[in-house]
């Protein structure tokens, strides 16, 4: 007997997506992660633009990851022109990333994912049961947004990060206020780990995901790095970002406006879980302790562990941000204008770790500094194939489950990936003027 399960519109994810499953008896005929977010083709908005107008448009690809898009865009642009930014700029950009990561993870863990574990429809229902838990999540989210406001000038679509550096440096008063918030954040993020650790275990499909993450050149950093590590159970491969087109394959599919990605023909997972697993040795001591409290075993056994990995990063990021702000207050910021930019014909390919994982921007510029062509590959697009694989395994494990139960488990798998569907839609043209 054949059966069809359709989730039309996934709730508690960013953007428009769904799931379709077709079963034939106990056999799984088809599993699809449908992405029907409208294509925005932002390439028309960036093509022909002067180099300093590109990042503000690129950030509009996605609100939740807007700082990551803006900074990856700047990194690609600066690389195309052979511009090196100062160590101070790199550090402030990293701080902006940590802010975005804290805000994004707090939003996902407390407002989107946690209600599932407790059988609740949303954070409002959670607040009725345990208001302090929701307040805790909101305080952490506020902290991440405060960092973004102080460094980036706005919590969504930062304005202050410009080619070569920052338009304005944060004031001492801003940093003093931020330090106070971060001290509270240290306590809050530890409480968040305890809260996530206390959630009832979720039924999961128990399939070890293949993982990919940026090899950071600054500890556990999200911003600096030029290589990607990919693991497939065996020895990890290290692949240069500059050659991403030779190892990262994409294909357009009918049911999704996000192209599907593969490395060596296999789907792979990016995001907090991949980072924690592949960069465990550079995790802050607080992060390592959180790992143990959460019972997160590595290498991971299920994509649902991404939720635990996000909690680990919350603790590690708040600790890093506090240390950094304390150091800045001790040493002071050097009053430096953005590095001078002299446009030239060239190609820039940059990768960073957005909250949801690896993000690539690749640009080519003409001699006047006008953008000729661009390619952007987002974490959710990279994850799309892997999401489908785990949806399939979930159905294969519980083919007899009733529709409602199965639907709930499928939704949890998708949500654990923390998909950002606005991002996933391929926005820009492939091929550098080819």
């Amino acid at each position: 007997m054949s059966r069809r399960i359709v989730i039309d519109h996934l709730a508690r994810v960013e953007g428009h997506g769904g799931v379709t499953v077709e079963l034939d008896g106990d056999g799984v005929r088809q599993v699809r992660f449908d992405i029907f977010e409208g294509a925005r083709l932002l390439e028309t908005a960036v093509r022909g633009r002067r180099f300093d107008e590109v990042a503000p448009v690129a950030s509009r690809i996605c609100a939740i990851c807007s700082a990551a898009h803006a900074l990856t865009s700047l990194k690609a642009t600066e690389q195309a022109f052979g511009v090196a930014v100062s160590a101070q700029t790199e550090m402030l950009r990293e701080l902006l990333y940590r802010g975005e990561n804290i805000a994004s993870h707090a939003l996902h863990l407390f407002l989107l994912a946690a209600p599932d574990y407790l059988g609740l429809p949303d954070a409002a229902a959670l607040a009725a049961q345990s208001p302090e838990a929701v307040m805790l999540g909101l305080r952490l989210k506020r902290l991440g947004n405060r960092i973004q406001e102080v460094i980036g000038g706005r919590a969504v679509h930062p304005v202050n990060a410009v080619p070569g550096g920052f338009a304005r440096l944060p004031s001492e008063d801003d940093l003093i206020a931020l330090r106070a918030d971060l001290r509270q954040g240290l306590v809050d993020s530890e409480a968040a780990v305890d809260l996530i650790a206390s959630l009832p275990p979720a039924e999961s499909c128990c399939a070890a995901p293949r993982l990919a993450a940026l090899v950071s050149t600054s500890g556990y950093g999200y911003y600096a790095g030029r290589e990607v590590m990919v693991t497939d159970g065996g020895a990890p491969m290290r692949l240069p970002v500059s050659a991403y087109r030779s190892w990262l394959k994409e294909r357009a599919v009918e049911h999704s406006h996000a192209k599907h990605s593969s490395v060596n023909g296999s789907p792979f997972m990016v995001g907090a879980l991949a980072r924690v697993a592949l960069r465990r040795q550079s995790l802050a001591p607080r992060g390592e302790a959180a790992l143990a409290r959460l019972g997160l075993r590595l290498p991971p056994e299920s994509p649902l562990d991404n939720n635990k990995a996000q909690a680990v990063e919350l603790v590690a990021d708040v600790a890093w941000a506090l240390e950094t702000v304390e150091r800045l207050l001790e040493q002071g910021l050097a009053p430096e204008p953005p590095a001078a930019i002299e446009p030239r014909q060239g190609i820039g390919i940059a990768a960073t770790e957005a909250p949801r994982g690896l993000l690539i921007h690749s640009y080519s510029y003409d001699a006047r500094g006008r953008l000729l062509a661009a390619d952007v590959i987002t974490p959710t697009a990279m994850n799309a194939s892997s999401v489908e694989e785990h949806l399939r395994r979930t159905v294969e494990r519980w083919p007899q489950a009733d529709d409602r139960t199965l639907r709930g488990r499928l939704e949890m798998v998708v949500r654990a990936y923390d998909p950002c569907i606005s991002c996933a839609v391929h926005l820009v043209r492939r091929g550098h003027g080819a």
């Binding site: 960013e14 409208g38 083709l41 503000p56 919590a155 969504v156 492939r430």
Partner: protein, 253 residues
């Protein structure tokens, strides 16, 4: 005070305006008490997709037949429809390549692209009547909360209709256009952001769309005086509001 039945919806966009609502961390729980949130897919799986609504907040542009159908359905069930964000009000950044949409789809997705449900971006009011507009890319938290507070009291909110320059002068920023001859969209862009970019020493990008009460004639004269060509200004203004009325026409004034 009666809790108005409220829906919060996103068409095609970056979800930034819904995110700004969720970023009202200090007010969020009280906001949820004040509004009877019936349908807010981004934040809740308990949704009533059919009930009548007193207020619908809609962000994003109309970029597919599915968006169009959803918007018509939202309009049908809502007493008051509020467009939030530059995409919903003016079309936004994705409206830039409207003329060659089919061709662009094919460039990006190949043959498969031709079968996608995808249309050039339109603001909401090109599809259904819109009662209120709160612009911004993204909307400002304070304007959003102010609008909700007004609506709860049964009054229409009063968004700024004057240009960013007004707020920039209040903040006593040095003028980037007059002082440095930089292309700043402040004279023609709707205020409400507190002149954020000029306060960082950056020219206004025009992300909030045209101001109704701008002195266009004087603005164009000033741009000309500073050696900034009308084409350049028009191109810049088209980044966020390519469908804004009068922008192109005023170039020749």
């Amino acid at each position: 005070m009666r809790r108005p039945a409220t829906g919060i919806f996103g068409l095609t966009g970056c979800a930034g305006d819904q995110l700004v609502l969720l970023n009202c961390e200090e007010e969020l729980l009280r906001l949820m008490e004040a509004l009877d949130l019936k349908d807010f897919l981004m934040a809740s799986s308990a949704r009533d997709a059919d009930c009548e609504l007193d207020i619908a907040f809609v962000e994003g542009a109309v970029m597919s037949r599915a968006d169009e159908e959803r918007l018509v359905e939202i309009r049908r069930r809502s007493r008051l429809l509020v467009a939030i964000g530059t995409c919903a009000v003016w079309g936004g950044v994705a409206a830039a390549g409207r003329e060659r949409w089919g061709q662009l789809l094919e460039e990006v997705y190949g043959d498969t692209g031709r079968r996608y449900d995808s249309l050039p971006a339109r603001p909401l009011d090109q599809v259904v009547p819109v009662d209120l507009r709160i612009t911004g890319c993204p909307v400002e938290k304070e304007e959003l909360l102010d609008a909700v507070a007004h609506l709860l009291c049964g009054d229409p909110p009063v968004p700024a209709d004057y240009p960013v320059c007004t707020e920039c002068k209040i903040r006593e920023n040095a003028c980037l256009l007059i002082g440095q001859a930089r292309l700043c969209c402040g004279p023609v862009t709707q205020a409400g952001c507190g002149a954020r970019c000029p306060s960082f020493g950056l020219p206004c990008e025009g992300c909030r769309g045209p101001a109704r009460d701008a002195n266009l004639r004087s603005a164009w004269r000033l741009f000309e005086e500073k050696g900034i060509s009308p084409d350049e200004v028009a191109r810049k203004l088209a980044t966020f509001a390519p469908l804004g009325p009068g922008v192109a026409a005023e170039v020749t004034v």
